[in-house]
Amino acid sequence: MKSKELADRLREVILNGTWVANTNFKDQIQDMDFQGANRSLAGRNSIGLLSQHIHYYIAGVLKAFQTGQLTIRDKFSFDFPPFESQQQWKDFQESFWKDTEALAQIIQAMPDADLGEAFIDPKYGHMQRNIDGLIEHSYYHLGQVALLKKMIAQQNGVD
């Protein structure tokens, strides 16, 4: 029950939710082109970079569940070049959605009792705290993505 709720909260922020913010990552970025995704307003992180930053953690936690090893590092979490084509941007998005759903399914399949177990190593805290943190971190940057998208649209005279 708790595992299913946690998995659904992850799906909500990335794939399909509207309850918290009336939007989610997929809703925000799926209709953008790669030039818009690369666009940096006054030196701020681009929407493409923020999206890759969030995916980095989701893919890293997914891999940790699959292999038992946590290899992601904060210092590398913004190390991504701009997208070079629409296809590259679309391919990234597909990985983002696929990895999110794969992680949600792993979380959903966990017995509730396991949520209190150590995440990979006791030094990282337990499962639920880490997954909660992943979701909250995603909401933090989703707020920024939504704001940046509106700013870009207004600069383009679209909205």
Binding site: K2, R9, A21, G116, Y140, G143, K150, M151
Partner: protein
């Protein structure tokens, strides 16, 4: 596990502590000249005052739901995003005081409750159905974090 104590701790960090995600609301707002709080970053974006007032509304609603089992507002209500004139009439000190009071009231409404309370349900006026308090509190925390991410960008934009 997801406990009331953990929720309170997370909310306190976001409000005035040192959240792992960055700066708290109080720290970010301490950087802001009060003359900027009503300025919209762009014509169609919300001001800091509007954002803080918006957060206050949903915290007050959460307290109402915790106390009575039912809310009173929907996303479409006028208080969700008050017009600029109304916000200016209230004054920043009043908006900020209401925000801080809503935080105090939310924490007070939860203190002394057992974690089993999180599995009890309330009627959500906006979503027209029964939901658990766990769902409500997760949503409030995530909502605060969502707008905290925006606040930093708005402040940077206004300072330029």
């Amino acid at each position: 596990m997801a406990t009331i104590a953990h929720f309170i701790s997370q909310m306190q960090e976001i409000q005035a502590g040192k959240p792992w995600i960055g700066s708290s609301y109080e720290r970010k707002l301490a950087e802001v000249d009060p003359s900027l709080v009503y300025v919209r970053p762009t014509p169609k974006l919300k001001s800091i005052a509007a954002l803080i007032s918006h957060l206050t509304l949903w915290r007050e609603e959460a307290v109402l739901k915790i106390k009575t089992g039912q809310g009173s507002k929907t996303d479409a209500c006028i208080e969700n995003w008050l017009p600029d004139k109304e916000l200016q009439a209230q004054g920043w000190n009043s908006i900020w005081a209401a925000y801080q009071q809503s935080f105090t009231d939310l924490i007070s409404s939860l203190k002394g409750k057992e974690d089993s309370f999180l599995q009890q349900t309330y009627y959500d006026t906006d979503f027209k159905g029964e939901y658990t308090y766990q769902w409500l509190l997760d949503g409030i925390l995530q909502h605060d974090v969502y707008h905290l991410g925006q606040l930093g960008l708005i402040i940077k934009h206004l300072k330029e």
